[in-house]
Structures are given as structure tokens and as C-alpha cells.
Amino acid sequence: MRRYAADVAVLVRKDLTLELRARDTLPAMLLFVLSALVVFHFALPAHSSDLAAKGLLWVAIVFTAIVGLTRAFVAEREQRLIDGLLLAPCDRSAIWLAKSLAVLAFLGAAEVVALPAYAAFFSGIGWSTVAAVALADLGIVAVGTVLAAIAAVSRARELILPLLFLPLAIPVVVGGVGASVVVSPGRYLGFLCLYDAVFAIISWASFEYVVTE
């Protein structure tokens, strides 16, 4: 168990260090989410409700996550690092967990900028929205990491990840928007927890089959 945690920690540190040096994914995600929010301002006609804007916040989050996930396995694929990772005597699911945590870090960092920007551009956000974003992030990165690994193998690469991801993101959007707009968000937050638990388990169990022959 401690070995597992140590493996995950090493891999997470590797991904974060690579990002700190290359500085390509996180700035792109930040710029994307801010640009998207500005586009949404122009996409909402006058007298649109705050509720519509809340919905669009979740669209921005999902698509920013896609931007981050598209970059997730690029290094592993292009420089054949995945072979090195697979030769290492660590559990395959540790690779999944580490990559998920790294993407979670990037997504979280993007949201730290996006949520205040949203509050400034549109309307304020309550605790339920922040809680929903946090819970949704867990589900998004759990599922997204497996799908990013699948997409990395295919010829279509960046094209196929949104196609694979969006149907699976629909429940996340429902949970998130629901928690953001209704008066008592308990049901929606509970649903997000259920989504996270179910898909984390299946992602953790199936990642091994995605990366091996």
C-alpha cells in the first residue's frame, strides 16, 4: 500500500515538474477558460437570466477539462514514455491515479482563476457551486484520464477525445448545474458523489486493459 502511494507520488511529481518546465498546458487552459467566459457574455442576449449564465459556466469547465485532458498523454505517446512506464514494476492503476491527480491539479488551478472571473463577469457564486465544482472535477479527471489514454492510441487523437468524453460528461453537467441553481443542492451534490464513486472504481479497474495489449 505504501509502495503504491510512493509510486503515485513519484509519477505525479514527474508530471507536475514537466509542466512547470514546459508551461504549455496550464496557460492554455487558463486562456481558454477566460476566452470562453468572454464569448459567453456575447452569447447571452439581454435579459438572460443568471441561471443561463450558471449553465454556461459548466460548459466552460467541461471544455477546459477537455483541453487539459487532450494534453494529458501527449508526452507518453510522442516520446514513447508509456513503454518505460509499463516496464516499471508499479501497478498500472497507479499510472491512472497519478495522471488523474496531475490533471486535477491543472483543472483546479484553472478554476481558481475561472471562478472569480465568472463572479466578476456575471454574477456571484455560492458555496454550493464551489462544492459542485470540486466534486465534479474528481469525476471528470477519473473518467477523462482513461478516455485520454484510449484516445492516445487511436489515429484520430484530439478529435476523438471530445466525442468519447461528452456523453459521459452529461451527468456531471446535470449535477453541477443543478447544485448551482437550486435552493437545496443536497440531491445534486449527492449525485455527483455517486458519479465520482462509480466511475472512479470502473476507471481504476479498467485502466490496465487500456495500456496493455
Binding site: 466525442l163 461528452l166 456523453p167 451527468p171 446535470v174 479498467s206 486493459y209
Partner: protein, 228 residues
């Protein structure tokens, strides 16, 4: 009779399917009473069995996918693919018949309030992506693995999505429409069961038919390689 049907499974299935479909159409139009909803309720007898058959196909595909990953059965990947193909075909039929039914009942080609229909739309998108994935990876064990994992994600998505759509209806649309009417009379239920059996038989027949075609294709390709 049983030896003949064992030796000619496809023909036997085709006969069974024709018989069941014929019987169900006769029952639907001549036996089942006209519902208070009107004649349009007759669509229900095909629409719901097609939807249930589609779920069954996706479930069967996921089962075969699981068997591929766990037991490494050699034919499981192809069977999973064909089952999901049938599921998408029946899913498309569900969406079209459901849309026609919505037009009759509520005068709109699409109603977001019909939870079953929205669920099918989400699943249809998901499994179309399955085919995009399969066509963008070269054939081989890796493609089989990726397809199997995605098929398992799909079957998990079905209940989660259904819950999500149900939850969404409380902040999107306050009223909920139901696909099937109120409690069915016995004669209606019997007709429904026959129609359901007919659809399952049709799906299974098409599944075996397509599998036979694909296996024949593979054998021919191998034969070609052996000869040239």
C-alpha cells in the same frame, strides 16, 4: 425438428422471428383494444419493445466485452462489437418511433420531458463514439481492449444517465412525460409481451446473421492469404 433447427440456426431464427413479428402485428391491430389515448397508442407496442431490446443488446455487448477482458475468449470482441451494432440500430429505431409518437401526442418532434427518449439520445451519442473509436484504431488486441473498456463504461452510464436526466427534469422542465400509458389491461399486456419477444428474436437473428457474415469475411481473407 430440433436437429434441423440446430443444423440451420439462422434459418430457424428467421422463421421464429417472422412468426413472432407476424403474430404481434395481428395481435396489435386485431386483438388489443383501442386505448383511451387513441390509435396512436399502437405505436407503443413497437416503440417500447424496440427500446428494451436496445438495452438488452448494449447489455449483451458489455457482457461479451467483460468476457473478453477477463477470460480472453477469442470470439468475444467480435460478438461484443456486433451486439453493440445491433443496439445502435435498435436505438436509432427507438429515437425515430419515439419522435413520431411524440409528434402525435404532443405535436412536437422532440420533447425533452420524455426521459426514456433523452436517455436514448445520450446513449446513441455514446455508442456512435464507440464506432468512431473502433474505426480509428488498427485491428488487433489493443483495439479489442479499448472497445471492451469503452463498452463497459457505456453500460455503467445507462443507470447513471437515467438518474441524471431524472434529476435534470426538476430544474429544466417541471412536468414529466411518460412513454407508456397507465396500467395496461391483460390483453394489452399479452400483446406487448408478444411484440417484445418478436423484437428480441429479431435482434438476436440480426446479431447471428451479422456475426456469420463477418466470420465468413474473415475466413475468406485467410483463404486468400493461403492461396496467393
Amino acid at each position: 425438428m430440433s436437429t434441423w433447427s440446430r443444423n440451420n440456426p439462422l434459418t430457424a431464427l428467421a422463421v421464429l422471428t417472422t412468426a413472432l413479428l407476424g403474430a404481434s402485428v395481428v395481435l396489435i391491430f386485431f386483438y388489443a383494444p383501442v386505448d383511451q389515448d387513441g390509435l396512436n397508442q399502437k405505436i407503443f407496442y413497437f416503440h417500447v419493445p424496440i427500446a428494451l431490446t436496445s438495452y438488452a443488446c448494449f447489455g449483451w455487448g458489455a457482457l461479451k466485452a467483460f468476457l473478453h477482458l477477463w477470460k480472453r475468449l477469442p470470439s468475444a470482441d467480435l460478438e461484443s462489437y456486433v451486439a453493440i451494432h445491433q443496439g445502435v440500430i435498435f436505438g436509432a429505431m427507438t429515437l425515430v418511433t419515439g419522435s413520431i409518437w411524440a409528434k402525435v401526442r404532443w405535436n412536437a418532434w422532440w420533447v425533452w420531458g420524455d426521459e426514456q427518449l433523452v436517455l436514448f439520445l445520450v446513449l446513441f451519442l455514446f455508442y456512435c463514439a464507440y464506432f468512431m473509436l473502433r474505426f480509428s484504431v488498427d485491428p488487433g488486441p489493443q483495439r479489442a481492449n479499448l472497445s471492451a473498456v469503452y463498452a463497459l463504461f457505456g453500460v455503467v452510464l445507462i443507470p447513471v444517465s437515467f438518474l441524471a436526466i431524472r434529476l435534470a427534469n426538476s430544474y429544466i422542465h417541471p412536468t414529466v412525460f411518460t412513454s407508456s400509458g397507465p396500467q395496461m389491461a391483460t390483453s394489452q399486456f399479452a400483446t406487448f409481451c408478444v411484440a417484445w419477444a418478436a423484437m428480441l428474436s429479431l435482434a438476436y437473428f440480426l446479431y447471428r446473421f451479422e456475426l456469420a457474415g463477418k466470420r465468413l469475411d474473415a475466413n475468406l481473407r485467410e483463404l486468400r492469404e493461403l492461396i496467393t
